[in-house]
């Protein structure tokens, strides 16, 4: 598992400054194919900044990252999606007034082709593509367990279901890597357990997962490997159990004096 070609995502000394603040300082890490990788750290450690760099929302000042052999630093968000990284948002961002099904159908955009002419003429190829979009979207709603809500507007779904819908929409882009920004935020214990099962199932079906999480317990139970950020620097990387015992990590989370 540890030789170089298993690295799906490789981040090479990425730095990002906001004014005088170094949000990311020379961060390097690699996510392997088929694993669940956790990115943890206290508030303000740079987790979300790194996430935004990966998703194409901000360009790193220095450094590179390659995904599946393609250099992606500074690429536009849609390009990142085309290459196979899908993301969800910390504060769920659905197309609130579209139906659950339509939300997932939008996710198929990057993998379908129909243009204006096809839309207007509705030729055989376009009709077939459209039917495939609907079929795939329904299957994904079923996969995440909200098939019964297909026709309901996204805003009317419960919080947990909205998370699931967001995951279904991300999966519709056929990602190789699914990146989730604090997916358990605001969830109760039952919802969290269900989410954990869903994520394990997604990994089992062949998608690599990158998880940003505040909730150390969830990360430790779910992830194969974790990296810890603190003040924009990576202070540890490895198996959860080992990282948990790392003095630098304990200090970062609990402050000095406990190590």
């Amino acid at each position: 598992m540890s030789h170089a070609e298993t690295a799906l995502l490789a981040v090479h000394s990425v730095s990002k400054r906001f004014g005088g603040l170094a949000a990311l300082a020379e961060v390097s890490l690699s996510v392997h194919r088929g694993e669940i990788f956790g990115l943890i750290g206290p508030n303000g450690a740079g987790k979300t900044t790194l996430f935004n760099v990966l998703a194409g929302l901000s360009r790193p000042d220095t450094g590179e990252f390659t995904f599946d052999g393609v250099r992606l630093a500074g690429a536009k968000p849609h390009r990142v999606v085309e290459c196979g990284i899908a993301r969800t948002f910390q504060n769920i961002r659905l197309f609130a007034n579209m139906s659950a099904l339509e939300n997932v159908m939008v996710g198929r955009h990057a993998r379908t082709r129909a243009g204006v002419l096809g839309a207007v003429l509705r030729d055989r190829a376009t009709r077939a593509e459209e039917a495939a979009i609907v079929g795939r979207a329904r299957a994904l709603l079923d996969y995440v367990g909200i098939a019964g809500r297909a026709a309901d507007p996204a805003y009317s779904l419960s919080y947990g279901d909205q998370r699931r819908l967001e995951v279904a929409r991300a999966l519709a882009t056929e990602p190789k890597l699914l990146a989730l920004d604090e997916p358990a935020a605001g969830m109760n214990a039952t919802e969290r357990e269900a989410l954990k099962r869903l994520l394990e199932r997604i990994r089992g079906d062949g998608t690599t997962l990158l998880l940003i999480e505040h909730d150390v317990k969830l990360v430790m139970g779910l992830c194969d490997r974790v990296a810890v950020l603190d003040y924009g620097r990576k202070i540890a990387e490895g198996a959860p159990a080992a990282v948990q015992r790392d003095p630098a990590v304990i200090e970062a989370y609990l402050g000095g004096g406990f190590a």
Binding site: A96, T126, E130, Y159
Partner: protein
């Protein structure tokens, strides 16, 4: 009421019946209007159909993609002038409308992209201000492009524009066919009706397609749309181009219909008027836009009768009809915002956005933005 209509339309046989009745009404409408209301009303109906085209074009930009455009009339102007310059004595060119209408659509689409490109990062109020400026720039250019080389003939405008014609059959003459007299306003009515029907067809098909969903997704949440794999830049430019092309065709038709255009026909007030049609009728819903365009074209014309009525009932004209027009117009808009904020005939998604989401806001704070 909308519910009943929807149920009727869902039933296929009832729907075909309705469409047949509608087709018959539309066929006899210009002759009925001519007979009962006078020829002026046929002309008003023609103009209403042009506004249907404009409204549907703007609806793509504002209604689907959610990009507030206050300079939309510029594309109408671009279409009108590109038709005029190539089919009038101005340069002595007399190209066929079969070339000029598609060309007008294309030129307007290019201008749509020219407007869209620098405004890609702007949203809401800021976008509105830039588009408003764009509309004015086009109008002022048209006024001043008579020196040093006379292209647009400046504020005097251009006259003697060619009518639509094929072979020797020109629409500015009166024909009699099977005992029915086709005056120019009647002939143009059928051309405009056909164009409006095509525009409705294109709009409906686009709405329910991969592209239409992408536009609506951008309107709902542009950042999430990008993160879902939509190339927001291209898809927004496509909305500008598509919307503008409708305006370009309408412009060419307008120029040929009037036989005369000047920059004055393309003022900010006209942009606002088209926007009002879209908003009042029901943003994002084709039926609503058509309704809005027809109502807002007919209303001011109907108010012309206010002067003689005042004279008859009150003995004197107290309120000038043109003042009354603006007064009622403002009142209608205020009432609309209070009673039906999503428009007279709103789209399904827009209704949720503006009405239901507001009512359910307390429990949906996470997504209802």
């Amino acid at each position: 009421m909308t519910g009943t209509w929807q149920r009727l339309l869902d039933d296929r046989r009832a729907a075909w019946g309705l469409y047949a009745v509608l087709a018959v009404i539309l066929l006899v409408l210009p002759f009925a209007a001519d007979a009962f209301l006078g020829r002026a009303w046929v002309r008003i109906i023609d103009v209403a159909l042009l506004f249907v085209l404009l409204g549907l074009g703007l609806n793509i930009v504002v209604g689907y993609a959610g990009l507030l455009d206050l300079g939309y009339i510029a594309f109408f102007a671009v279409g009108a002038y590109s038709y005029t310059l190539l089919a009038s004595p101005q340069f002595g060119l007399h190209w066929s409308f079969l070339v000029l209408l598609p060309l007008g659509a294309f030129v307007a689409a290019v201008f749509g992209v020219l407007l869209g490109a620098p405004t890609l990062r702007l949203r809401g109020d800021y976008l509105a201000i830039v588009t408003l400026g764009f509309g004015e720039i086009i109008r002022i250019c048209l006024i001043n492009l008579n020196r040093p080389v006379n292209i647009t003939n400046g504020p005097q405008g251009i006259t003697l524009i060619d009518p639509l014609s094929i072979g020797g059959f020109a629409l500015n003459k009166t024909y009699t066919l099977a005992g029915v007299t086709f005056a120019p306003v009647h002939s143009y009515y059928f051309v405009f009706l056909a164009c409006a029907a095509v525009a409705i067809f294109i709009s409906l098909r686009l709405e329910d397609s991969r592209i239409g969903r992408a536009w609506i997704a951008i309107r709902e949440d542009e950042l999430a749309a990008g993160a879902t794999g939509i190339n927001t830049r291209n898809v927004k430019l496509l909305a500008f181009a598509m919307g503008a092309s409708f305006g370009g065709v309408a412009g060419g038709l307008f120029a040929s219909f009037q036989g005369f255009i000047s920059p004055e026909s393309f003022s900010l007030l006209d942009s606002i008027m088209v926007l009002c049609m879209v908003v009042l009728g029901g943003m994002g819903n084709v039926g609503g836009v058509v309704l809005g365009a027809v109502l807002l074209t007919a209303l001011p014309e109907a108010l012309r009768y206010a002067a003689p009525l005042q004279k008859e009932w009150l003995g004197e004209v107290y309120v000038d009809p043109s003042d009354l027009r603006m007064l009622l117009f403002g009142l209608a808009l205020v009432l609309m915002m209070l009673l039906r904020p999503a428009g007279l005939w709103p789209s399904r998604v827009r209704r949720r956005e503006l009405v239901e989401a507001a009512a359910e806001a307390p429990e949906t704070t996470d997504v209802a933005r």
